[in-house]
């Protein structure tokens, strides 16, 4: 049998899934899910925060209590996703080099693209599983708190109706407002955007880690890119203002380059709006998914370009 007859597919989903599964197990062994304990403790701790002052009855406070609960728990979810996205991705290649696992894998007929995709997929699976668990806990806690707030509120509404200050329509609109701050589809979509954001930053960290041999360097650069991505709004405004006022072309071009080189994290800020009570339109979720896919795709291709050329 000649060597020419042995054909390896350019990209094998099966191989990718095996690598992803191994990465997932490897990360689980690093005990990252201890983070969930922080989440649970915070969920309990929120109940001990001071009661908010009443302005015109509990109807003004109920939604704020729920909003506060959501904002804190979602913040923890976001921290978990971002930290894991950056740190786990930065760690994964250097660790494989250190353990010599990388040599074992690449000495077999495993294309480097499969290796990179598998590694990233494993990390994303872990982030997704963690977020899903936290989302479940959040939904549970929020549901029970919403019911408690609603009961208290309906009692107050009945008193106001008896005093002639409210009508049944006011009570209904108040009930809907409270429920709007409870467990909703918009909230689930907001939690999904946290995953999208983490996917982008993880893919970016993967790209940086293909260049760098230092984990710390990768973590710092990826974190910086994340913060710069949040500044993009200001950068874009500056660029547009300069273009309008006909400022120096060199300045305009350099600001343009700076703005386009970093991922734009602005649209992912919609999670904050949802916490405040906005609805999450499905088309926006679709466009965010598309943008995320695009970023992850580009960073993966570039990572592959660098990694395929890398001497290991």
């Amino acid at each position: 049998m000649s060597s020419e007859s042995v054909k390896f597919p350019f990209f094998s989903p099966r191989r990718v899934l095996i690598i992803a599964g191994n990465t997932f197990t490897q990360l689980i062994r690093m005990k990252v899910f201890y983070f969930l304990l922080v989440f649970v403790l915070l969920g309990i701790g929120i109940h001990f925060l001071p009661e908010l002052p009443h302005l015109s009855g509990p109807e003004s406070v109920g939604p704020e209590e729920l909003r506060r609960m959501k904002s804190m728990l979602i913040a923890v979810m976001k921290l978990f996703a971002l930290i894991l996205g950056i740190v786990a991705t930065s760690l994964i290649i250097p660790r494989d080099v250190e353990d010599r696992t990388l040599y074992t894998i690449l000495s077999k007929p495993v294309p480097r693209l499969d290796y990179l995709v598998g590694k990233l997929l494993g990390i994303l699976l872990l982030i997704f599983a963690g977020l899903a668990l936290m989302a479940l806990l959040l939904d549970l806690v929020l549901h029970f708190r919403t019911q408690a707030v609603l009961a208290e509120w309906m009692q107050a509404a009945d008193t106001l109706i008896a005093q002639g200050q409210w009508t049944a329509a006011d009570k209904e609109s108040a009930r809907l407002e409270i429920l709007h701050h409870g467990v909703t589809w918009s909230l689930q979509a907001a939690m999904l955007t946290i995953f999208f954001e983490a996917a982008v930053i993880a893919a970016l960290a993967l790209l940086v880690s293909t260049f760098s041999s230092s984990t710390l360097f990768t973590v710092v650069i990826a974190t910086l890119c994340y913060f710069i991505g949040q500044f993009i709004a200001n950068g874009r405004d500056y660029w547009l203002a300069q273009s309008r006022h006909g400022e120096e072309p060199a300045l305009v071009i350099s600001s343009k380059i700076l703005v386009v080189i970093f991922p734009d994290f602005r649209p992912y800020g919609i999670a904050d709006k949802v916490i405040a009570g906005a609805n999450f339109p499905p088309d926006v979720l679709g466009s965010l998914a598309l943008t995320t896919g695009l970023y992850v795709g580009i960073y993966l291709v570039l990572s592959w370009f660098v990694f395929s050329d890398k001497e290991i």
Binding site: L52, I74, K78, Q230, V260, G277, A278, T291, V306
Partner: protein
Amino acid sequence: MKLVRNLIVVLITMVLVGLAKAPYDEKVAADMRERRLLPKPIELDTWEELGQTGLAIALGGLRSMIASMLNIRAYVHWENQEWYELEQTYNTIVALQPETRYYWTAAAWHLSSNAYADYETKPDIPDGRRRRIQKEFFWKGMAFLERAVEAYPEDARLWSELGSALSQVWRPRDLARAAEAYHAAFELNGNLQAQRQHLYVLSRIPGREAEAWKFGRAMWANPENRKFNSPRDIYYALQSWAKPPRFETHSIGDIFGSRAQAALLLPDYWCRQQEGYPMHGVREAINELCEEFLVPELIHPLRFDPDRLFRIHPVTGESFPNSPITGKPIERRWRSIWLDQLRSEYRAHIRSIYRAPP
């Protein structure tokens, strides 16, 4: 060399892809901005107030959490009566989470009501300065609500909050603006309470009786509004002012349900003169009803002017006790004497005379 080459290729690709993607990003951002789904960039003033750590967290997309934590800090400022710090904290909070109505209304309430009341009793402040600071905080509170309605003109409850805050009796007022605010709230959601509040405020503005009468008639057309006492009282007073043709005039019995009911309600309304409500025809009506229901002179609500001050109780002849705060003798107005002590006797008398038709 290879590393530098790769780096250059990666950067160039990222720039090219970024440039190609920029119009799409802008389109998405513009669409989200239009639907108010995109957080505004954090302004420079807010950066300074947040400090390094807060800014980093806020920039990390955790604005709502920072706003919630700052709200708790504001709560502590409130407990310690640190009003300037409270104002600054709320400025930061609303910059981070402008879409949350609660933050705007809480800021306005703390400054215009709590800070205002706190300075009323703060010791060791000269009176002139006390009044100046009170006014300053009141208008700071109003500025929050004005900013809120400017940013969210479609929020009827914000307009109602503004109307309410500007029309309280015990604080500075701007009744014209309050009327505008209630009207905006009513136009937005058709809430009948906002409609009634608009009439209440409008009727208190001197010189705008004609407008109040026109609006009062529209309000009266909805039977739901006739269930409440204030709309009946105000409608009666405005009708007495407008003197419409006989066929358009409602009798006192029509407006209040019965003459006895009018006798029960109108004295309470008469005692609210200091709030600026129209009183056209009210004195005459009370006199007429008291005569009809044989009200004894001692408990007659019009026995004295409502604002007349007494050191000795006009009915029992006993002196009022000294104030526990100042140690000086207390003076009481006729309206408070009548409302606190004689009203129940008066109402019992009316009920004893009046027998509802079967």
